[in-house]
């Protein structure tokens, strides 16, 4: 049985969704129909031209982990930003781990989607926001049909979460092949603020396939910063679908750090539904071997006087492949838009490749949109400058790549996180030159 059929039959036989109230039940039934009709995306679709899911979906995946496993904090400590005081929402093979987590209901809700979907006290928020921001594409719909667990973060009007939140998904490899479908809902009401760090991490070499959906609502003047660390093992594949609804004067940033994994696809969609929005999309990709990272971004400017800033940098070695497909849509009423997009890449090896494709669809006449894309090797003049100061070729190249990638980090607002990412980049590029990181 192929994976699609397995998912469909699993949905039919599963009783879990029957416990939900009618409206959710209807949403899920509707979603599975969409997935049944559309199936997994194929390379025939324009948006998936350079990324094939075939090698993943022909495998047989378990849809739930049969045994519950516990892991010791000391064994996974390195995957946390552990020198930073945070709330933590931790899942092991898709199941919530209370002893690794630190949640709160003190003025804000930092807890579980499973609770939010089933307990009456959350119903008002769920009714308004759950599955309302995400478009009904096949992968998001697939996730919706199976959605039962993930992070639920609700920040009411005027509140700021007093420390960042880490969301961690561990997979233990107890199942030879495991498919996970976490679902996060983040609602920041008017003037609310929240910072989130998310990571998916497999703990051994067994295959894991994650189809994650995150919906983010940013109310008027809300500020949301979301950081994604994608540094997984060679058999881990991730499709991250993140959908963001921005209201007047809100500012949302999403930083994506892609340093490892078999196949990573980021569908990052910003919908500017208010005026004076600022949307910030940043990414650093550093991969090698046969790894594949695909950034598929959309910024939909639906209202006037807004900004968007996209800056994606990639370094590709060996046979690694990258894709950047950045779409900016400016509706006819969305005048006075400033939309910037840049995608710069370095191909370290002759066999590495990147497909970079900006798409601008502009229907307003008073806008400023710029996009730039470069694919190149390292700057030889800069390398000579370093060598003339005594820095060897290998170290010079590493330092230049480090500098190239590290430049994106200026907008990271959490110093401990910035330090960690800097270190990850330095390690990744084998820059070990004894300077402060």
């Amino acid at each position: 049985m192929n994976l699609k059929d397995k998912l469909l039959s699993s949905y039919l036989t599963s009783q879990e969704h029957l416990d939900l109230d009618n409206s959710l039940h209807d949403i899920k039934d509707e979603a599975i129909k969409v997935f049944e009709e559309k199936g997994f995306p194929s390379k025939k679709q324009e948006d998936w031209k350079y990324t094939s899911l075939n090698s993943i979906i022909k495998q047989d995946f378990s849809l739930v982990s049969k045994q519950e496993d516990t892991i010791e904090f000391k064994d996974v400590k390195k995957y946390f930003i552990h020198d930073l005081d945070t709330y933590k929402i931790v899942f092991i093979d898709g199941v919530y781990s209370s002893y690794l987590s630190e949640t709160t209901h003190d003025g804000v809700d930092v807890c579980l989607l499973s609770a939010a979907l089933t307990k009456p006290r959350y119903k008002a928020v769920i009714d308004v926001y759950f599955n309302k921001i995400a478009p009904q594409d096949s992968l998001t719909s697939l996730n919706t049909a199976f959605a039962k667990e993930g992070a639920y973060i609700y920040v009411p009007k005027g509140k700021a979460v007093n420390k960042p939140i880490q969301i961690l998904h561990f997979s233990t490899g107890n199942e030879a092949n495991l498919m996970l479908q976490p679902r996060n809902l983040i609602v920041a009401e008017e003037n609310a603020e929240v910072q989130i760090i998310e990571r998916h991490q497999s703990l051994n070499g067994n295959a894991v396939f994650t189809n994650s959906v995150t919906e983010i609502y940013a109310g008027k003047r809300a500020m949301v910063d979301y950081y994604k660390i994608q540094n997984d093992k060679e058999n881990a594949s991730l499709i991250d679908n993140t959908h963001i609804d921005q209201q007047d004067s809100s500012e949302v940033s999403v930083h994506t750090f892609s340093f490892g994994g078999k196949l990573t696809r980021n569908n990052l969609n910003f919908y500017q539904n208010g005026e004076h929005n600022n949307s910030i999309l940043k990414g650093v990709t550093i991969i090698e071997d046969k790894q594949h990272v695909d950034h598929n971004t959309l910024v939909h400017h639906k209202q006037p006087n807004c900004e968007s800033h996209q800056d994606y940098k990639g370094i590709f070695d060996d046979n690694a492949t990258g894709v950047f497909n950045g779409k900016v849509v400016v509706d006819s009423i969305a005048q006075k838009i400033n939309a910037y997009q840049s995608n710069n890449n370095i191909l370290v090896s002759d066999k590495a490749s990147i497909n970079s494709k900006p798409q601008l669809e502009i229907f307003a006449d008073d806008v400023r949109c710029s996009h730039g894309c470069t694919i190149g090797q390292l700057d030889e003049d800069a390398l000579f400058y370093m060598r003339a100061r005594g820095i060897g070729v290998k170290e010079g190249r590493a330092l230049l790549m480090y500098a190239f990638a590290n430049n994106v980090l200026e907008s990271v607002k959490i110093p401990q996180l910035k330090a960690r990412i800097t270190k990850l980049i330095a390690n990744k590029l084998e820059v070990n030159l004894g300077f402060d990181v």
Partner: protein, 251 residues
């Protein structure tokens, strides 16, 4: 310290330097002057080891050893320093991290451990004060958005940190206002000693009012056509390069 013997070199098969002879001893300051296109920057690039230049004849000895087959970084390890006419911008690497990296790479090549952080900090403080460099400047990305004067001051700061045996200052005066010129020259003068040597490459005499050379050489069309003491620079300033060219033509 440095001996250039009958050096011819160029790019893509066309010689720019056509038989240069020059001997620089420890403790000396030599100025190489010449009009645009005479080969001044080619000479500094060849000594520093820029690979796109091909040497067609002659040799360059540093401390009695040919350095032409050595990589640029190895020449730097031996104590050759080039202050660039156009320092390269490297966004994402701070001045401090860059210089620390360079120092530790040179130490590593000599079989030494990394310089202890406290020594490094002390040295950075001392040398940045010498060049009147602000602390904030040191944490900025290397040369990115620096003014012409800041770039050159940063070059001499690096020279001060690396303490080379031979420093080649390629058009260090270009882009400097009078205050920056004074600071940069003052820095160079303080670094002069009986053990090191400086080659100042310049188009104008102005810099030589501050860094007073022991010898002045005039480079025209890839050859040193005239050498003399510091007074030669003044004569050049007064009479222009055409004077040397005319003298040359007259035989």
């Amino acid at each position: 310290m440095l001996e250039i013997k009958n050096l011819s070199a160029g790019i893509e098969g066309k010689d720019i330097l056509k038989g240069i002879n020059l001997k620089v001893n420890a403790g000396e300051v030599h100025a190489i002057m010449g009009p645009n296109g005479s080969g001044k920057s080619t000479l500094s690039s060849v000594i520093a080891g820029k690979e796109e230049y091909e040497v067609s004849a002659g040799d360059v000895l540093f401390e009695d050893e040919s350095i032409l087959d050595l990589d640029a970084e190895v020449r730097a390890h031996k104590g050759v320093f080039l202050s660039f006419q156009y320092p390269v911008e490297i966004p994402g690497v701070s001045v401090t991290n860059f210089i620390k990296t360079a120092i530790n790479q040179i130490r590593k090549a000599k079989g030494l451990e990394d310089m202890p952080a406290s020594d490094m900090l002390k040295m950075i403080k001392e040398k940045s004060e010498l060049l009147e460099i602000d602390r904030k400047f040191l944490s900025r990305s290397l040369n990115e958005g620096f003014s012409g004067g800041e770039k050159k001051r940063n070059e001499i700061f690096q020279m001060a940190m690396l303490e080379p045996k031979l420093a080649i200052l390629d058009e260090t005066d270009s882009g400097l206002d009078i205050d920056a010129l004074r600071i940069v020259s003052n820095g160079v003068n303080k670094l002069r000693s009986k053990d090191n040597a400086v080659i100042v490459i310049t188009h104008y005499q102005r810099l030589l009012d501050y860094i007073v050379p022991d010898f002045v050489h005039v480079l025209v069309d890839g050859k040193i056509v005239k050498s003399g003491g510091k007074e030669l620079a003044l004569e050049l300033e007064e009479k222009g390069y055409d004077w040397v060219k005319a003298e040359l033509a007259a035989g």
